[in-house]
Symmetry: C2
Subunit: 462 residues, 2 copies
C-alpha cells in the first residue's frame, strides 16, 4: 500500500513534465482525414514509440495501408500478472473552421475557464490527453518501482477519426500479439466533474432496409386510387405495428436474452439526477416515448429498441403530385441489449414484415450490419476493482453506466480477440471534442493519470 502512495506522489511530481509531453504530442498535426497530414500522423506514431521506449516498452511503428499503428509491450512484475491491452488513438479531427478557435489548435496553452484550468488544443481531450493519462501512469510506476504491476500491451491507431479502415485487418493479422486478458478503452467521459464513470453496457445494433413494392410503376391516384395497393400505406402499417401500446416491440421473441437490470444498478442510476425532463429538455421534448414505466437512462442504456431511421416513398418534392408510388422503403434499426441475437432479431423482423405484405405485392430486404450488445457483468471482478479504484481518487464514488450506442472497437475486441473491455475515461461533456476550442481539464489529465495508477494497482489485489 505504501507502493501506490509513492507512485501517486511521483505522478504529481511528474505533472509539469507530463504536460510538456502532452503539449509536444498536441503540436503534431495528426489529422487523419486529410492526406496532406499523412507525414504528421506518422510523426505522432514515431513520437509515441520514442516515449514508450523511454519508459521501457518494446515499441514499434507498424505500417498499414493507411496511417500506421503503434504497438508496445511491457512485462508485468510477475509472470502470472494479468495482461491488459490499452487502446487509444493518436489521430485528431480537422480544425475547420479555424476562425472560431480562440487559441491556436496546435499550440496548447493552459487557460482559466469558469474558474478551472483547461488545456486548450485539438486532441487534448480526444484522444491524446486521454491516452497519455495511461502512458504517464505507467511512467510513474516505472519511476518508483522499476516495473509495472501488470503486463501491458498498448495499441494506438491513427485512423479512428476516419472510420478505422485498417483496424480489423490489423487485429486479424496480429491476433496472438494483441490478445490480452481484457482491454482498457479510454475514449469515454466522466459522469460529471466529481463522478467517474465506467460504461458496462453498450447496445448492439441490427440495421435493415426494407423495400415494399406494389404496382409495376407509379400510378395516377385519380385513375387507380381506391383500387391499387399503396406501398406507403403498407409500410406505415408495418411500422405502426412494430410497437404495442406500452411501447414494447412486438416482434416474436424480441425480448429473448433481455434481462432486467439489477435493482441496485437501477437505484444507482436513479440517484444520478437525470430526470426524464433533464434528459429530454435540451432536445425540445418532455415525454419518454419508449417502454412505459422505465426511466430515460434505463430506456437508452439497458433496453432494446426498434427505430425507423429513414422512410421514403412517392413524391417528396415541392408542391403536390397525386401519385401512388410503386415502392416505398424504410431504414430500420434495432438496438440490442443483453444476449439478444442479431441474426434472430433480423429473421423475426423479416418474418413480421412478410406476413404483412399483400399477396400481390413484394418486399426486399437489405442488410446493414449487425452486432450483439456488449455487457460487462455487473458482478465482474474487473468492473468492481476499477470502480473501487476510481472511487478512491474522485470526490464521488464511481458509477456504472450504460451507453446507448456502440463503440466498434469494443465489439471488435470481443468478436476478434474474445476479450472484454473496460471503458473508463476522464473527458467532460463540455470538452468540445470535434469542435473548435477543444479542451481537456487539467484536473482530467492529472487525476486521470492517478486513476490509472489506482486501477493498475487494484487489478493485482485480491
Amino acid at each position: 500500500m505504501s507502493d501506490i502512495a509513492a507512485v501517486l506522489e511521483r505522478a504529481d511530481k511528474n505533472l509539469p513534465e507530463s504536460l510538456e509531453r502532452l503539449f509536444a504530442l498536441v503540436r503534431v498535426k495528426s489529422i487523419s482525414t486529410d492526406p496532406a497530414y499523412a507525414a504528421e500522423c506518422r510523426r505522432a506514431a514515431e513520437w509515441l514509440v520514442k516515449e514508450l521506449e523511454v519508459i521501457g516498452f518494446t515499441a514499434s511503428v507498424r505500417d498499414t495501408p493507411g496511417h500506421p499503428m503503434v504497438v508496445a509491450h511491457h512485462q508485468g512484475a510477475s509472470a502470472d500478472a494479468p495482461h491488459v491491452l490499452f487502446y487509444g488513438h493518436y489521430d485528431v479531427q480537422p480544425v475547420d473552421p479555424l476562425n472560431l478557435w480562440e487559441t491556436d489548435p496546435f499550440e496548447p496553452q493552459i487557460l482559466k475557464e469558469n474558474g478551472r484550468d483547461v488545456i486548450t488544443g485539438r486532441g487534448t481531450s480526444d484522444d491524446k490527453g486521454q491516452l497519455l493519462t495511461f502512458v504517464e501512469a505507467c511512467r510513474a510506476y516505472k519511476d518508483v518501482n522499476g516495473s509495472l504491476p501488470v503486463k501491458v500491451t498498448m495499441l494506438f491507431e491513427g485512423e479512428e477519426e476516419s472510420g478505422s479502415p485498417s483496424l480489423k485487418p490489423f487485429l486479424e493479422a496480429n491476433r496472438d500479439e494483441l490478445k490480452a486478458d481484457f482491454a482498457l478503452v479510454c475514449d469515454t467521459s466522466m459522469w460529471d466533474r466529481d463522478t467517474p464513470a465506467i460504461s458496462a453496457g453498450l447496445r448492439g445494433l441490427v440495421g435493415e432496409e426494407v423495400v415494399v413494392k406494389a404496382a409495376n410503376r407509379d400510378l395516377h391516384s385519380g385513375y387507380y386510387g381506391g383500387a391499387a395497393a399503396n406501398p406507403v400505406h403498407i409500410l406505415s402499417r408495418i411500422i405502426a405495428g412494430l410497437h404495442d401500446d406500452t411501447g414494447r416491440v412486438t416482434l416474436d421473441g424480441f425480448y429473448e436474452g433481455v434481462e432486467e437490470t439489477p435493482a441496485e444498478i437501477k437505484a444507482m442510476w436513479d440517484k444520478l439526477g437525470t430526470s426524464d425532463e433533464k434528459f429530454l429538455k435540451p432536445i425540445g421534448l418532455s415525454e419518454p416515448s419508449g417502454e412505459k414505466g422505465r426511466s430515460v437512462l434505463e430506456l437508452t442504456w439497458a433496453r432494446p429498441t426498434a427505430e425507423v431511421n429513414g422512410i421514403e416513398g412517392g413524391y417528396t418534392g415541392e408542391g403536390f403530385k397525386t401519385v401512388i408510388a410503386a415502392r416505398a422503403s424504410a431504414k430500420v434499426s434495432f438496438r440490442l441489449v443483453g444476449k439478444q441475437d442479431p441474426a434472430k432479431i433480423r429473421a423475426a423482423f423479416r418474418a413480421y414484415v412478410r406476413n404483412r405484405i399483400p399477396s400481390d405485392c413484394s418486399v426486399e430486404f437489405h442488410e446493414h450490419g449487425g452486432s450483439p450488445a456488449i455487457q460487462l457483468p455487473y458482478d465482474s471482478a474487473l468492473l468492481n476493482k476499477a470502480k473501487d479504484a476510481l472511487s478512491a481518487e474522485w470526490p464521488k464514488p464511481a458509477v456504472v453506466i450504460g451507453m446507448g450506442g456502440s463503440i466498434p472497437i469494443v465489439g471488435d475486441f470481443q468478436k476478434m480477440l474474445g476479450m472484454e473491455s473496460l471503458l473508463a475515461g476522464f473527458a467532460l461533456a463540455d470538452d468540445r471534442i470535434h469542435s473548435p476550442n477543444e479542451k481537456y481539464d487539467l484536473m482530467s489529465y492529472h487525476k486521470g493519470i492517478r486513476s490509472w495508477i489506482r486501477i493498475l494497482d487494484r487489478l493485482v489485489q485480491a
Copy 2:
C-alpha cells in the same frame, strides 16, 4: 325527324372536305409549351375563327397573356332554345422524339392500322379532331337548315397542354359572355370501339401536406433511441389509422354526402367486362386494395379515398445512418365523391392528426388545393338525352361512367360559371395521345360528327 336524317346525310357527304379541314388544322404546328411555336398557335386560332365565320358564327381571336383564346357565338333556331358552351383546345403536345414517328406528325395521312382507317398526326385525337367533330356537326346543320337547333358558344384555348394559365382569368373576365345552360366537353374517350361513354362523375380532391415535428434536431439513435419521440413512428401510426380493416376511411364524418351508386348504374358497370383482374393486371397487381366488397370501377369512379402520395423522414441516402429524425412529412390526398365537402374533410383530417400528436411534439399542415366532386345526376335530362342520342349512333348503347381523377375545366365551369358539363368524346384508348404516332380513327371522326348532330337534335326534343 326528317330534319336529322338530312343533317346526318349531309355530314356523310361533307366528310371528304371535313377531313381536308382537319388536315389543314393538324398541319399548323401549334405546340403551346415551346415559345418557338407561338406564331403557329396564333395561326391555329385564326384558322378556327375563319372557319367558324364561314359557318355563320361571330368569332374572334382573344388575346391573353399567353396563347390566344377563340370565342364564337351562334344563335339558336328559337329564342328559347338552350344555350350550350362547347369547349376544346387547339394546342398540341410536342412531338419529340421525332425519330419514333412513322409519319410526319404535321402531315396527316389516312392509313390502315389493324384493318381500321386511322388519321395520323399530332393532335388528330387530342384535341383538334375531337373539337372539329362538333364544328363539323354545326356546319352540317347550317348546310341543311340554315340554323342551329341550340344557341352555341364555342371556347377554344391554346394552353391546355401547358397548364391553362390564362383560362381562369379569362373565364372570370368574360363570365357573362361565356355562361351558358351547360357545357359540352369533348376531351374524353369511348368506352371501347363500339360503345360510347358519358362521364357523369369526376372525383374531387383535397390535398394536404402534414409535417410532424419532434426533437429540435436530428438525434443519434444510440444516445436517444428508446426515450425520444420518433416522428416517423408517429406519422406511420397516423397513416396506418386512416383506414379500418374493411378499407374504409376512419375520419369523422368522412362519408357524409357520399351516396351509394344506383343499382342500375352498378349493374351497367358490372356488364362492362372490367374485372378486378383485367383492371389490375396491367399494373402488376391482382387484389383491389380499397373498401371491401366493391368492384374496381366502383372504387375508382364512385368511392372516396385517402391516399398518401409521398412520405419522407430521416436518412434516405445510400447506406445507413442511425438517426432519429427531427421531422417527418407526408403528402396526403383525398378523392371526393357526391357532396363531400372539401373544407370539412380537411378539418376532419387535421383534427384526426392533432389527436395523435404527443403533447411534446407538434404538427404543421400545408394546404394543397381542394375541389368538390362533380356529379351529373344519373337522372338528369341532359345526361339521358345525350345517352339516347349516342346509343342511336353507335353499335352498342352508351354507358354512363365515372372518372377517378378530375378535369380542371369542368370544375372551373361549375365553380366560376355555375354550369354543369357533359363529357363525351370519341377518342380510343389506343390513340397514343401525347406520344409518337398519335392517331384518330376515321370512324371516331365521322361518327363523332354524327353523334353531335344527334345530341344537338335530342337536346331540343322533349
